[in-house]
Amino acid sequence: MRQPTVPLARTLIALLLLLLGVAGCANNGSETVRGSEFDDMWSMPALPPPAQYGNVLISRLTRSSTHPPVVFSHWVHRRFFTCRVCHFELNFELKTNKTEITEAKIRKGEYCGACHNTKIAFGINDSTCRICHSGNLAAPDARFSELKDFPKALYGDKINWVKALKRGLIKPQQSILDENYQSIPFSEGLKLDSEWVLAKTRAVFPHQKHIEWLDCADCHPDIFNIQKKGTKHFRMDNINRGLFCGVCHLTVAFPVQDCKRCHPDLR
């Protein structure tokens, strides 16, 4: 018969090593490794000044040239076009510097060139280069006053775009490829129960408000699986890292600091 103490000791060592291993894994900085969800739940990314919220510095190719990077301002564009126009129909990726934009492609009518062709918006010529290639994130600030009559929000660019759309202050184009485009009439509102037991932090998700701007396939199936239980790792800490809702709601759509817009029960 075996001594009972030996397996016990072994089990303890095993457990200790396992815990160390897990901790080591969690801290090794790999992109997909996630630590404790409580570590990062409140670490929301810092916000820029309202006029610069949603501004993006595009330097994929300018970095290795003498040209200043491009400053793209979301609030300038989202008044006129829904998200789906650029982030789907024009193939713009959802991460800065991931889109393979080149000047030649723009001149051929791709990416920015779909509109910046003198017909819809200013075209590319020697006098207009600097409008985009400013290299200064604060460059579009002067035009921010154009939005002064828009409904207010608490964070981000401090504009409630959902209300602005509802009140007809903006009429963004739904599609530039299909004149008769109509979004799918799917308006199911989701109520997502929190894993917390002590506080009521249920999240709400209105499909309707999202499809006014986005195509179904902007989010499904890549970012969110279409089955609730199939979307794994959907937690606040991951959102703060730019995943799931954080793909848009950290940098362009109203930021996560505006807790109550998704968690209405939060006090």
Partner: protein, 261 residues
């Protein structure tokens, strides 16, 4: 000692499983219009020190129906699934059915000035800067636009007579009597508010015949094959074509088109 080794192995396994966790919560890169439907075939190429083949669906579907290659010529629906060898092509199978120097360029072309030109690079082009005979943007200029995929509405292009698809390869396809097309039908959505699907047998059968879908992808009797959108996203059922070559499933309203009130 043995116990410790097992524990260490377990830890390593656990770490690697965490590190290798799939990319979740992010958007995948969308293929560019000229890339959509391109297939890389590399069963034997790299092993034989030659660049893998890049097969472009767009240039072939502008000339032939899907059925010709995927039924008559026996091409699989997955890249590399046909296990094509060079000898097959030289024996007029697979690509060699057309790429024989008569119907389309063969392995070599006779030239008036130079005696023979090797054409290997034209297909074995992966990772090389090979300029195709036809430029995507030039070739498809003026075609009716679509929102996704190749950004070409292939159905409309055919309707307008911009393309005329051949449904047979001479000497290989054997003509059979046409089977009357079954009626279009609805597929009920299981989610409240999601518009139902209208499936057109005519549109599909004209370019695919019956054999491409039945009985393997879809059973012959309606309602027998159970599938959902998840399966389609994973490249099964409708997704066998509508994730890679036919208009992609991003374009929801092309299938989910019956209005709900």
């Amino acid at each position: 000692m043995k116990g410790k080794a097992i524990v260490l192995a377990a830890i390593l396994l656990l770490c690697s499983s965490v590190v290798l966790a799939d990319n979740f919560g992010t958007k995948k890169r969308m293929p560019r219009p000229e890339e959509f439907g391109n297939v890389i075939i590399n069963n034997y190429s790299t092993k034989n020190n030659i660049a893998p083949v890049v097969f472009k669906h767009w240039i072939h579907r502008a000339k032939y129906t899907c059925r010709v290659c995927h039924v008559d010529l026996g091409f699989a629906m997955e890249a590399g699934g046909s296990d094509i060898k060079e000898a097959d092509n030289r024996n007029h199978l697979y690509c060699g059915s057309c790429h024989n120097g008569k119907d389309a360029f063969g392995p070599t072309t006779r030239d008036k000035l130079v005696s023979e030109v090797q054409n290997c690079d034209r297909c074995h082009s992966y990772g090389k800067d090979v300029k195709g005979q036809k430029d995507f943007n030039e070739y498809l200029k003026g075609y009716p636009p679509a929102r996704f995929g190749n950004r070409v509405d292939w159905m409309k292009a055919e309707e307008k007579g911009l393309i005329k698809l051949k449904d047979a390869v001479e000497g290989i396809s054997i003509k059979r009597q046409d089977i009357p097309r079954p009626k279009d039908f609805e597929i009920k959505s299981t989610i409240l508010g999601m518009p139902d699907i209208i499936f057109s047998h005519k549109i599909h059968a004209d370019i695919n015949g019956c054999e491409l879908c039945h009985p393997e992808i879809f059973g012959a009797k309606k309602g027998v094959t159970k599938y959902n959108m998840q399966d389609i996203f994973a490249g099964k059922y409708c997704g066998a074509c509508h994730s890679k070559v036919a208009f992609p499933f991003y374009d929801c309203q092309l299938c989910h088109l019956k209005e709900v009130y």
